[in-house]
C-alpha cells in the first residue's frame, strides 16, 4: 500500500459513484436495453402440480399474428441439454465421506411427458412483442392426466407416499447426517432437556427487478452475447455454451445494472438456457423478462424448513448436547443439492460450545416450485430453531436468556476455534476470529434487559417482551474470484471482476480498495463487474463472498500493476524503481520533486520503451483463493409489544451489534445490514408463499404475498465490533447476508416472552395478527 494510512479510503464512507446515474433514471437494467429487432418471449407454464402430458398442440399458436416461433418439449429435447446447477450439486470429498444422498435430477428444458409443479415451463412462444407472445400462449392446447400431487413435506416422507417425480424410488432428494461425541448418552444424563419443533415457512427473495435476459447472436461469427440479471455471469456462460453446444469462448454474458438478487438470481433456471437457444436458433435477438406472477410462482422459492430439535444442558445451563433433524422442502427437484441443508446443519450451533451433536438434514421433494438459497441460505432457518430452543432452555432452567447464552459462548481467547464438525468444503470447521461475548454484552446493554424486566413487572397488563438472536456466518465462499486491473490509454484505471453488483455498491467499494493499493485517485478508477469478456474466469456474487474474494483479488492485482508501473516508470525516468513513489496517480522520484510522470504519460510511452519488458500495456489479472472462511457474526436484540385484542406485534426497539472484520465503507456496510434486517422482518412478520392442498400457489401477486413496507421496519440501532479476519490480507469478512439471519429468531423470542403470561408457544412464522390470535386461542384452550 502506497499512500499514508490516514489518507486511506478503506474505512471511509466514500459516497457511491453508482448513485448519480441511478437517480437520474439513467440506470441500464436488462429490460432497458434497446436491442433492435428483438423478439419477445412468453412461456406456457404448467397449471397442474403433477400430471402426465398426454398431448400438446402448438399449431394454432404458430399461426397467430406476430409469432416468430413456438417451441415445445419435443422440439428442444434433443437440442438443449437438461439443466443441472453442477457447481451447487458438487459434493466435496470430506462431505462425501459422510455418505450423503444427493440425487442428480436434471430439469427438463421444457416438459415433455410429465409436469411436477405449477409454473413449470411447457412451451415457449417467441413473437414480435410480449403482448403477441401472450396471445399465442392462450391458444396452445395441452391435455393433462392428473397424477397425485404431494405438497406436505412430512407426508412426502411416508412409506406409501405418491412419487413427486416419476421414476425416482422415493421423495428424498438429499440426506446427510453429521455430528460429534455421544449425543444420546449426553442427553440421557443431562439435567435439563428440551425438545421442540420449530419451522420456517416458505418465503421468497422477490427482488423488485425480476429475472430477465436478452440474447443476441452475431450474424457473422455466430457468437452469442447475453445481457442478464444474473449474480453469476461466468456460470451462465459455461452452462449456455455447454447446453446448446457452442464453444465457451463464443458466449459472452454481461450483467448490466441489476435490481437486487438475494440468491434468486444466483442459480440457473431453464429459461436462461432457452432464451439464448432461441436467439441462436432464430438468428434474431430475443428478450424475456419475468413478470411478477412468474417471479412469485415459477422462480426459485426458499426457506421452508422444519427442525425437530433437542437441547440438553447441565443444571447451570452449560450445553451438553444438540440434536436436530432438519427437513428441507426442496420443491419438485433437487436443484442445489446440499447447499441449503448443509449450510443449515453446519451453522446451527453457531457461536456456542457444545461437546456432543447429532445433526441430520433431509431434503424432501414436493410438487411445488424448486427452491434456492435466499440471503442467509439455511442460516435464518437454523438460527430460528437454535435460538428459539435456547429461550426454551432458559425458561426451563429459570435463567435469563441472555445469561444462558453468555455461559455457552466461545470466547475470543479460543480463536481460532475448531468446532469438531466439517464445514461446507468438507474440511474441519474453524472460526477464524470474533468476540461473541463482547458482542452479546453490547447488545444486552443497548436493549437494556433489566429495564425491560422492570417494565414487565411494573406494567403487568401490557404484553412487552425482549428477544435475542446470535448467529454467525462463514463468509467468503471459494474457490476463487478474480480481478483484472489495467491502466487505460487515458491514464485512468479499470478494474474488471467476475463478481457483479445487484446493489451492493461494488463500483465504489472495490475502487476504494484499488485506490489505496495502487496509489491512484479514486475518481480515476472505473469498475466493471460481471462481463465474461473482460476476465476469463469468475464465480459471482453469492454467499457473502464478493468483498472477501473479489476485494482481495483486487488488492492483489492492484499491487502487481503498481509494481509494473514503477518498473516501467523507472525505465522512462531512468531512475531506480525503489526510489519511485506513486500517489494520486502521479509517479515521482523520492528527493527529486521536480520529476513527475502521470499514468497517461507513462502508458503512452510503454509501447515505445526500447528494451522494455516485452509486455505490452500495464495490466495484470490475479485470482484470490480464500484459505478458509472469514466468520462474521451478529447479535440482534429486540423489544416488542403484542396487542392481545388485535394480535398486532409492534417492534419497540431493534438493536444490531455485528462483527464483519475490517469495514471498507461504513455507510454502505451498515445499509447492507439494515436491508437484511428488513427482509428478516418481512419473513417473520408477514411473508408466506402459500399453496393450497392441490399444489396451486395462492400468493401469486404482491397483493397476496405481503412484503414489508416502510412502516413495518423500525429504526435500527446499530453498533459493531471489529475483529479483522486473519484469512485474507484486507482482513475483511462478508456481511451481505447477516442482517437477514437474526430477525426471525429475535422477534419470535420477544413475542413468546411477551405472551408468557398467556402460555403462548411460537413455533413458526409469520407472526401476522391472525396467527397471533390463533396462538392465543390455542394457548387458552390448553391451559
Amino acid at each position: 500500500m502506497s499512500t499514508e494510512p490516514n489518507d486511506w479510503l478503506i474505512g471511509q464512507s466514500v459516497p457511491r459513484v453508482e448513485d448519480d446515474r441511478l437517480l437520474r433514471g439513467a440506470g441500464r437494467y436488462t429490460d432497458d436495453l434497446h436491442v433492435p429487432d428483438a423478439a419477445e418471449v412468453a412461456f406456457l407454464r404448467s397449471t397442474e402440480a403433477h400430471a402426465r402430458i398426454t398431448s400438446i398442440d402448438i399449431s394454432a399458436a404458430q399461426a397467430m399474428p406476430g409469432v416468430v416461433a413456438v417451441y415445445d418439449g419435443a422440439s428442444v429435447v434433443d437440442r438443449i441439454k437438461p439443466l443441472l446447477n453442477a457447481e451447487e450439486l458438487r459434493v466435496p470429498p470430506g462431505i462425501a465421506d459422510l455418505d450423503p444422498v444427493n440425487k442428480l435430477q436434471p430439469a427438463p428444458i421444457l416438459a415433455t411427458d410429465e409436469v411436477n409443479y405449477v409454473g413449470q415451463p411447457v412451451a415457449m412462444v417467441v413473437a414480435e412483442t410480449r403482448y403477441l407472445a401472450e396471445d399465442a400462449i392462450e391458444v396452445i392446447d395441452v391435455t393433462y392426466e392428473l397424477l397425485p400431487a404431494v405438497i406436505d413435506v412430512e407426508a412426502a416422507q411416508a412409506e406409501d407416499a405418491a412419487l413427486v417425480l416419476l421414476g425416482e424410488d422415493d421423495n428424498i432428494g438429499v440426506h446427510v447426517r453429521h455430528g460429534k461425541g455421544d449425543t444420546d448418552a449426553a442427553l440421557a444424563s443431562a439435567a435439563a432437556v428440551i425438545t421442540e419443533t420449530f419451522s420456517t415457512q416458505r418465503y421468497v427473495c422477490a427482488p423488485i427487478e425480476t429475472r430477465g435476459l436478452v440474447a443476441q447472436q452475431d450474424p457473422f461469427t455466430g457468437s452469442l452475447t447475453i445481457w442478464s440479471t444474473t449474480q453469476t455471469p461466468h456460470r451462465v456462460r459455461d452452462h449456455v455454451a455447454e447446453s446448446i453446444g457452442l464453444p465457451v469462448d463464443d458466449v459472452r454474458v454481461q450483467s448490466v445494472d441489476v435490481g437486487g438478487g438475494f440468491g434468486q438470481k444466483g442459480i440457473l433456471v431453464v429459461e436462461e438456457l432457452l432464451v439464448p437457444f432461441a436467439a441462436h436458433d432464430l438468428g434474431r435477438p430475443v428478450r424475456w423478462i419475468a413478470d411478477r406472477f412468474e417471479n412469485l410462482t415459477a422462480d426459485a422459492h426458499a426457506r421452508e424448513q422444519i427442525h425437530h430439535i433437542t437441547l440438553g444442558a447441565d443444571a447451570d445451563g452449560t450445553l451438553v448436547a444438540v440434536k436436530d433433524h432438519i427437513i428441507v422442502n426442496l420443491g419438485a427437484r433437487n436443484m442445489v443439492g446440499l447447499v441449503v441443508p448443509y449450510n443449515a446443519l453446519c451453522h446451527l450451533i453457531g457461536p456456542y460450545q457444545v461437546a456432543n451433536a447429532d445433526l441430520e438434514a433431509t431434503g424432501v421433494l414436493t410438487n411445488t416450485t424448486f427452491t434456492s438459497p435466499y440471503r442467509g441460505a439455511g442460516r435464518p432457518e437454523a438460527t430460528f430453531a437454535m435460538e428459539r430452543a435456547m429461550d426454551r432452555l432458559a425458561a426451563e432452567l429459570g435463567i435469563e436468556p441472555s445469561e444462558l447464552r453468555r455461559r455457552n459462548l466461545i470466547t475470543s481467547e479460543q480463536m481460532p476455534y475448531e468446532t469438531g464438525l466439517l464445514d461446507r468444503r468438507g474440511v474441519p470447521q474453524e472460526y477464524d476470529s470474533g468476540d461473541y461475548p463482547a458482542m452479546l454484552d453490547r447488545a444486552v446493554e443497548m436493549i437494556d434487559v433489566p429495564a425491560v424486566r422492570a417494565r414487565q413487572a411494573a406494567e403487568p397488563d401490557r404484553r412487552i417482551g425482549v428477544g435475542f438472536a446470535l448467529y454467525l456466518e462463514m463468509t467468503g465462499l471459494g474457490p476463487f474470484e478474480g480481478a483484472r486491473v489495467e491502466v487505460m490509454p487515458s491514464g485512468r484505471v479499470r478494474l474488471y471482476t467476475g463478481a457483479p453488483s445487484q446493489g451492493q455498491g461494488h463500483r465504489t467499494v472495490f475502487a476504494q480498495i484499488l485506490a489505496d493499493t495502487m496509489g491512484v485517485a479514486f475518481d480515476d478508477i472505473d469498475v466493471l463487474a460481471g462481463d465474461t469478456a473482460s476476465i476469463p474466469y469468475g464465480v459471482g456474487t453469492i454467499a457473502s463472498r464478493a468483498l472477501v474474494t473479489a476485494g482481495n483479488a483486487t488488492a492483489q492485482a492492484g499491487e502487481l500493476v503498481r509494481e509494473r508501473i514503477l518498473d516501467a516508470a523507472a525505465g522512462v525516468l531512468e531512475a531506480n524503481a525503489a526510489d519511485l513513489t506513486i500517489e494520486q496517480g502521479i509517479i515521482s522520484v523520492t528527493g527529486t520533486p521536480s520529476v513527475e510522470l502521470t499514468l497517461a504519460e507513462l502508458i503512452r510511452s510503454v509501447p515505445k520503451l526500447a528494451g522494455g519488458s516485452g509486455s505490452d500495456g500495464l495490466g495484470e489479472t490475479s485470482y484470490f483463493q480464500p484459505p478458509n472462511y472469514a466468520t462474521a457474526s451478529g447479535a440482534h436484540a429486540v423489544t416488542v409489544e403484542v396487542d392481545t385484542a388485535t394480535g398486532r406485534v409492534e417492534i419497540l426497539d431493534y438493536v444490531v451489534v455485528h462483527e464483519a472484520g475490517t469495514i471498507v465503507n461504513p455507510v454502505v456496510a451498515d445499509a447492507q445490514v439494515v436491508g437484511g434486517v428488513g427482509q428478516g422482518i418481512g419473513g417473520i412478520m408477514s411473508e408466506h408463499l402459500r399453496y393450497d392442498e392441490n399444489g396451486q400457489p395462492i400468493t401469486s401477486t404482491f397483493s397476496d404475498y405481503l412484503m414489508p413496507i416502510s412502516e413495518m421496519v423500525p429504526e435500527i440501532r446499530m453498533d459493531e465490533i471489529v475483529c479483522p479476519s486473519p484469512t485474507n490480507p484486507l482482513g475483511v469478512k462478508g456481511l451481505g447476508e447477516g442482517g437477514a439471519v437474526g430477525p426471525p429468531a429475535a422477534i419470535a423470542n420477544a413475542v413468546e416472552d411477551a405472551l408468557r403470561p398467556e402460555g403462548v408457544s411460537v413455533r413458526s412464522g409469520p407472526l401476522t395478527p391472525g396467527r397471533i390470535l390463533d396462538m392465543l386461542r390455542s394457548a387458552a384452550v390448553s391451559q
Binding site: R16, L23, L652, D653, V674, T701, V713
Partner: protein, 190 residues
Amino acid sequence: MSDLEPSGPPTAEPTARHTISFTVNGESVTAEIESRLLLTDFLRHRLRLTGTHVGCEQGACGACTIQLDGQPVRSCLILAAQVDGRDIRTIEGLAGPGDELTAVQQAFADQHGLQCGFCTPGFVMSVTSLREQSQANGRAPTEAEVQDCVDSSYCRCTGYVNIRKAARQALGLPIDVPVSLDSSSGQVSE
C-alpha cells in the same frame, strides 16, 4: 418539435390503433398506439424513457410511479390511450443531463437511500410530488403524509431506514426520527 420520436405498434398487432398527443417532460409527443398498450410499455419501449421501472404490473410495488397532471400515479395501471391531451413527468424530467440533481434526488444520494436503484425512480417521484404539494400549500407535510408517501412503494434492498431519512431531508424535516420506546397505539399495520 420533440426530440422524442416514438416507435409505433408492430404490424401484427390486432387491437385498434389510436393517435394520441400529450406532453412528456415538457415536450409534446404525438404517437400511434394500440388500444391495449400499457403506459409503462409506451414510455419505456416506444419512447425509450427507461427510467420508469416495472416491478409488478399489479399496481402494488410503486416502481412505475410517474406524475400525471402533477399527481403521482402508477403508470402500469394506465393505458397509453388514456393519456391523450395530458401532461406526464417521469424521472428523466427532473434533472437534465449534466444539471444538478434536484433536492429530492440529492437527498437520496446524501442519505444512501438507494442500493440497487430499481425502486428509486418511483420513490423519487412520490417524494417529489409530496414536496411540490407541500410547497404549493405553504406548509410542511404532516408525519402521516410522509409515512403514506414512503409506504407507497416497495424497496427490497434498503429496509427503508435510509429512504425515510432521504424523504425527510427532501421535505425539510428533521432527518432522524427519535426511537420512542413506547408503542404507537392506534396505528394499523398491513
